[in-house]
């Protein structure tokens, strides 16, 4: 994981060693300065000289410390960014089913607090640890050289600290896991509640939502307090041991000086070495806490990184040769789809074929499986192997980008991004050109309305495109599908949110749009289905009727009944 950052880490590690090397001199320099003042004839100039050298070495150490932080903490920020980018790459390639199984809020907390926890453990965590490791031999070596007895007395607190660390570690781990999960649950609640604000408001649910949120916030609170309680034992322990070391040094060192076994200058130098160990000792506790959090967080991140996208190109898949005729074809053979946890098949043995340039309409009741069939063609949901074919090749053998680039898709839920209208329409283009965006908008009959927007194509849409009406959104989505001039057009209920006039306009226009393209049109409007060369009627996942619209209308099947009822309704109105 750390390989890409080896240069800054190498410089950082060097800086740590250099810092400690400089630091190791400091007590000796200080000792020399004090020693100059000892005895009956204090040499103030010499003392001043040594203390200035002391200051100079402090400055040199400072320069290395600066380098150390810039390189190592800087690299940890790079690592954090790269980790987030990798996560994003992975998430955005997961199947829509996977994404909807994971709550948005939970995914978001992996990107934020979990990534941060990993960064802390490998960045500052490693830095403090390396510091500790680097300072220990220096300081202990010097202390032992000056006075083995006094050194031993100072190492007692260190040993106690190690013991305390071992006691705290598992407890902290458990507490941090809970805290992080409670935090994720909290994000999820907030995210979902804000996204559903229209419902919350329409049903005056603000208070109930707040109560639920407060309850989850309470759980996060308990977990946070448990973590804090564990930590609250650790820090005072460190403080206690610190003072213990200080007192022991003065007490024992004083006795040694009194016996003439140690000079004042050596005593002070010894004390400075002992102090040098303090910060690394304290930071050991931090490192411990960081690593516990980091471990938990990395587990949560790895869970996402290690879940292979269930829908992906086969290794070495190459684009099938374009059919000789030029047009694209679609074939579905005995397709069966069952949603996870569902009691019955959503699609149950559906077969049809759409030759190049032809149009198939799929109609049927709500929940009959129309949209599910459509979603298997761009592999937004995976069909069983060998059941869905595009240009005669099973969709799973296509490289995913090539397959999806071959078709324009208008989903039922017209999701628009909070970018400009132009960017939304040009979504499918690598290099969106204003001409192509405009042409697509004109083909979808949305161009005049876009031109009337305050900044025309440069108008920014709200988070979910709320400043466009339902019909405008739908036509924007159609324009988005047309901009790539796809050979295949998949329309999922594109007339669902438009009024009579817009429907008439879109239908008239659709005739031109689908000409020359292989089209599947999911719709419940007979008027739209009449545009197709063939109509299939679905019910409970099966095809119950199929044929040319004219032939079906002549009979008395479900499609004829649907069309009659709809024309009847229209006539009734016209009467």
């Amino acid at each position: 994981m750390l390989r890409p950052y080896r240069v800054p880490i190498a410089i950082g590690t060097f800086s740590i060693l250099a810092t400690q090397a400089a630091q190791a001199w400091l007590p000796m320099l200080f000792r020399n300065a004090v020693a100059a003042l000892e005895g009956p004839r204090p040499d103030t100039d010499l003392a001043l000289g040594w203390s200035l050298v002391f200051l100079l070495v402090t400055a040199i150490r400072g320069a290395f410390q600066w380098t150390m932080r810039r390189t190592i903490v800087g690299a940890s920020r790079d690592l954090e960014r790269d980790l987030r980018d990798t996560l994003f790459d992975r998430v955005v390639r997961q199947s829509p089913a996977w994404v909807s199984r994971h709550h948005t809020g939970d995914l978001m907390s992996r990107f934020t607090s979990d990534v941060e926890a990993v960064r802390m453990s490998v960045g500052p965590g490693l830095m403090y640890l390396a510091n500790t490791v680097a300072v220990l031999p220096w300081a202990i070596g010097m202390m032992v050289a000056m006075s083995p007895v006094l050194a031993a007395m100072n190492l007692v607190p260190l040993a106690l600290l190690a013991a305390g660390t071992r006691w705290v570690s598992p407890r902290l781990h458990a507490a941090s896991t809970d805290a992080q999960e409670a935090q994720a649950a909290l994000s999820t609640k907030a995210q979902e509640s804000f996204a559903g604000v229209r419902v919350v408001k329409s049903f005056a649910r603000e208070e109930a939502e707040s109560a639920q949120f407060r309850e989850r916030a309470g759980r996060a609170l308990d977990a946070a307090i448990r973590t804090a309680d564990t930590q609250s034992v650790f820090y005072p322990l460190v403080g206690l041991l610190k003072w213990l070391g200080f007192v022991l040094t003065v007490f024992v060192g004083g006795r040694m000086m009194a016996r003439g076994e140690m000079t004042l200058a050596t005593f002070l130098a010894f004390h400075m070495y002992a102090t040098m160990l303090l910060w690394p000792m304290i930071s050991l506790g931090w490192v411990l806490a960081m690593w516990e959090r980091g471990k938990v967080a990395m587990g949560r991140i790895a869970a996402v990184l290690e879940s292979e996208p269930s829908i992906a190109s086969k290794p070495g898949a190459s684009r099938p040769p374009a059919p000789a005729a030029g047009g694209a074809s679609i074939e579905v053979r005995n397709l069966v789809v069952r949603h996870e946890g569902a009691a019955r098949n959503a699609v149950d043995g559906v077969s049809f074929s759409v030759p190049p340039g032809r149009t198939l309409a799929i109609t049927g009741a709500t929940g009959s499986g129309k949209s599910t069939v459509l979603a298997t063609i761009p592999r937004l949901a995976d069909p069983p192997p060998g059941t869905v074919f595009v240009d005669g090749t099973p969709v799973e053998d296509w490289p995913l980008d090539a397959l999806r680039a071959r078709m324009g898709f208008v989903p039922q839920d017209t999701f628009l991004f909070s970018e400009t209208v132009g960017e939304n329409i040009g979504l499918g283009l690598a290099e969106p050109s204003p001409e192509r965006v405009r042409a697509a908008a004109a083909a979808a009959r949305i161009d005049a309305e876009i031109a009337a927007l305050p900044q025309a194509y440069a108008t920014l849409l709200g988070e979910r495109g709320v400043n466009l009406s339902g019909g405008q959104r739908q036509r924007t989505a159609i324009a988005r599908a047309l901009v790539r001039d796809p050979a295949i057009l998949l329309l999922d209920d594109c007339l669902s949110a438009v009024d009579a006039r817009t429907e008439a306009e879109i239908l008239a226009n659709l005739r031109d749009v689908i000409r020359g393209r292989t089209t599947i049109l999911v719709t419940h409007r007979a008027a739209a289905a009449k545009l197709a060369d063939e109509v299939v009627v679905m019910d409970e996942g099966r095809i119950v009727e199929r044929g040319a619209p004219a032939a079906l209308l002549a009979g008395d099947g479900p499609f004829a009944r649907l069309a009659r009822r709809q024309t009847l309704e229209d006539r009734l109105e016209a009467a």
Partner: protein, 599 residues
């Protein structure tokens, strides 16, 4: 950018911010007082240990250094000091225990205060009008409520209290030093002004840097949230790479903002070290001269050297806490600025709460614009009698949906008034109003949870039987029987596992179960197939009895049940009357009608 700016431009109102944070603590003043008491005792314990330490140093080191003294005299001094050993041990243990107590109390106070703040912030966000949500991406709001509040907790847990303890320690040490040799103390204190300047510079720089960080975090989260929710579209259009590029760009900006804080810290620590070394140089320089002049003993010099450490330790802690606290302060600024945002639509104090509405709806010269200068509804006036069913028709963008949103005060009219039962909607208690007027929205949003929970959202007291009956009435029973666990089936976030039509059916059942006086169907039948639509039409026919119904329709077939039709065009109410009247008038309605028939 039409989004609300997230940029903070004001100066650093440190004190005002700290005061507001302290205010959050008020409900927990008992615990807070305990924490402060523990802290004060801790300070006294420290004072004592400093005093004992001073005696130790005076008693042991003083005579030890004055090498002329006899070992016997020393032994005498030691026996006195040995008696202090117990005191020292007790003090050390006692203060460690006190610190545990103090930290635990403080963490409880901080975490509870933050929970309260979070809950308040959450409720406050929900009290904002829809307009606010149109402009503020969900990801940003989540960042405020979760991440920023977390960052704020730092002020209380690792900020304020340690600074207090450190300040006390500082005062004590300075007192001690002045007592030993005030001149030497003043010389050493010469490093304080540069210290102050350095920490001020860092504080200002890191505040700016942390502000930038909070802003970029919110931005990145919005992008992430949107990409996750639009995943189908992203994938269908092969935009994974482009989306990743955008994410990467924003991620890099965040990294750069972070690096700016790293630079701050990287300079702060060495600067503090150099200043403390400078203090030692001053000490040896001046102290050496004093010793040479016999005005200072070696013992006193050693005292100074040791006390200097006790002096610089809190200073170092304080300046570090101050810098870290800038992150909290930057977060606090954002949280409070959101909290200070008055909801444009508020429930009036003592608002009307009628037991049951009669169901009269009236618009008087209502004008409303989502964006200034582009009214969506202009000078609309009409009255709907209790029990009447009125259809709103017109082309896309004619203003029908806006009219529906105005009735439930999702937005407030810019001009004119919307009245329910003859009273301005602004005079009603909001919950009472929305309890009596129910909307089946255009886009149905289901919360993650069971279908039953989703149906009960309007009224938690509804029984399961009532819910099932409502489902049957709109023809959603067929849907329930097809789902694995029926009404107990768990739906994924946003109802993604159900089709648009299925979600709309459930929304209708939800509205029906609530039995409102006024029902607003906003294009509700739009993507339900003809068969289901026929079922729903039948349900509406029974449903509209005894209540006022406004149907926002885009298809003429859905308005047969209406007593009256209002025709909207470009935000204005242009025609109204019965179907026969309007069809005969050869106006907009007749034109719309001919178009539909021709299709």
């Amino acid at each position: 950018m039409s989004r609300d700016s997230d940029r903070m431009t004001g100066k650093a109102f440190d004190l005002a911010l700290v005061r507001r944070i302290v205010e959050l603590v008020r409900p927990y003043r008992g615990l807070f007082a305990a924490a402060v008491a523990a802290m004060l005792v801790l300070v006294v314990a420290r004072l004592l240990s400093v005093e004992v330490l001073k005696r130790l140093v005076d008693g042991v080191l003083g005579p030890a250094i004055t090498s002329g003294r006899a070992v016997d005299a020393l032994r005498e001094a030691y026996s006195g000091i040995a008696a202090h050993a117990a005191v020292i041990g007790g003090l050390l243990l006692g203060s460690a225990a006190l610190q545990v107590l103090q930290m635990r109390c403080m963490h409880r106070v901080a975490q509870r205060a933050m929970r309260d703040l979070r809950a308040r912030l959450f409720a406050h966000v929900h009290s904002q009008p829809l307009r606010f949500f149109d402009r503020n991406p969900v990801g940003r709001l989540v960042t405020r409520v979760v991440g920023d509040v977390d960052a704020m907790a730092e002020v209380l847990t690792s900020g304020l209290d340690t600074i207090c303890v450190d300040l006390f320690q500082l005062v004590l040490i300075v007192g001690w030093l002045l007592w030993v040799d005030w001149k030497l103390t003043l010389v050493v204190m010469a490093v304080l002004p540069p210290l102050w300047i350095v920490s001020k510079l860092f504080r200002d720089h890191s505040r700016r840097a942390f502000r930038e960080v909070r802003e970029k975090v919110a931005q990145l989260n919005s992008t992430l949230q949107e990409s996750v929710q639009g995943i189908r579209v992203l994938q269908a259009f092969g935009r994974e790479r482009k989306a990743a590029e955008r994410f990467r760009r924003e991620d890099r900006e965040l990294r750069d903002a972070h690096l700016s804080t790293v630079r701050s810290f990287a300079l702060l620590f060495p600067a503090m070290d150099i200043l403390s070394s400078a203090a030692r140089v001053l000490l040896l320089w001046w102290g050496g001269r004093e010793i040479a002049g016999d005005r200072l003993t070696h013992g006193e010099l050693v005292q100074f050297v040791l006390a200097m450490e006790l002096f610089f330790e809190p200073i170092r802690d304080i300046s570090e806490s101050f810098t870290t606290m800038q992150s909290s302060m930057a977060a606090a600024e954002r949280v409070f600025s959101l909290l200070d945002r008055r909801p444009e639509i508020e429930s009036p104090a003592g608002g009307l709460r009628p037991a049951r509405l009669r169901g009269e709806v009236e618009f008087r010269g209502v004008t409303f614009a989502y964006e200034e200068g582009r009214p969506a509804v202009r000078g609309v006036s009409f009255r709907v009698a209790p029990g009447e069913t009125v259809a709103l028709v017109g082309a896309t963008g004619a203003g029908k949906t806006t009219v529906a949103s105005l009735v439930t005060r999702l937005y407030d009219a810019d001009e004119g008034a919307v009245l329910v039962d003859g009273e301005d909607v602004r005079r009603f208690d909001l919950a009472a109003l929305r309890g009596g007027v129910t909307v089946v929205p255009q886009e149905v949003f289901l919360f993650a949870g069971t279908i039953e929970e989703n149906l009960r959202i309007g009224d938690p007291r509804l029984t399961r039987e009532k819910l099932l009956a409502a489902c049957a009435a709109v023809g959603a029973d067929r849907l329930l029987s097809r789902l694995p666990d029926g009404i107990d089936t768990v739906v994924a976030e946003r109802g993604a596992s159900l089709s648009t039509g299925e979600r709309q059916l459930l929304a209708m059942a939800r509205a029906l179960a609530q039995d409102p006086a006024v029902l607003v169907l906003d294009e509700a039948t739009s993507s339900v197939d003809s068969e289901t639509e026929a079922l729903v039409q039948a349900a509406i026919a029974t449903l509209q009895k005894g209540r006022t119904t406004l149907i926002v329709a885009h298809r003429l077939s859905t308005i047969r049940a209406a007593d009256r039709i209002l025709v909207f065009h470009h935000g204005e109410l242009r025609e109204q009357g019965t179907h026969a009247e309007l069809a005969a008038a050869d106006g907009i309605y007749a034109t719309l009608h001919r178009l539909q028939a021709a299709a």
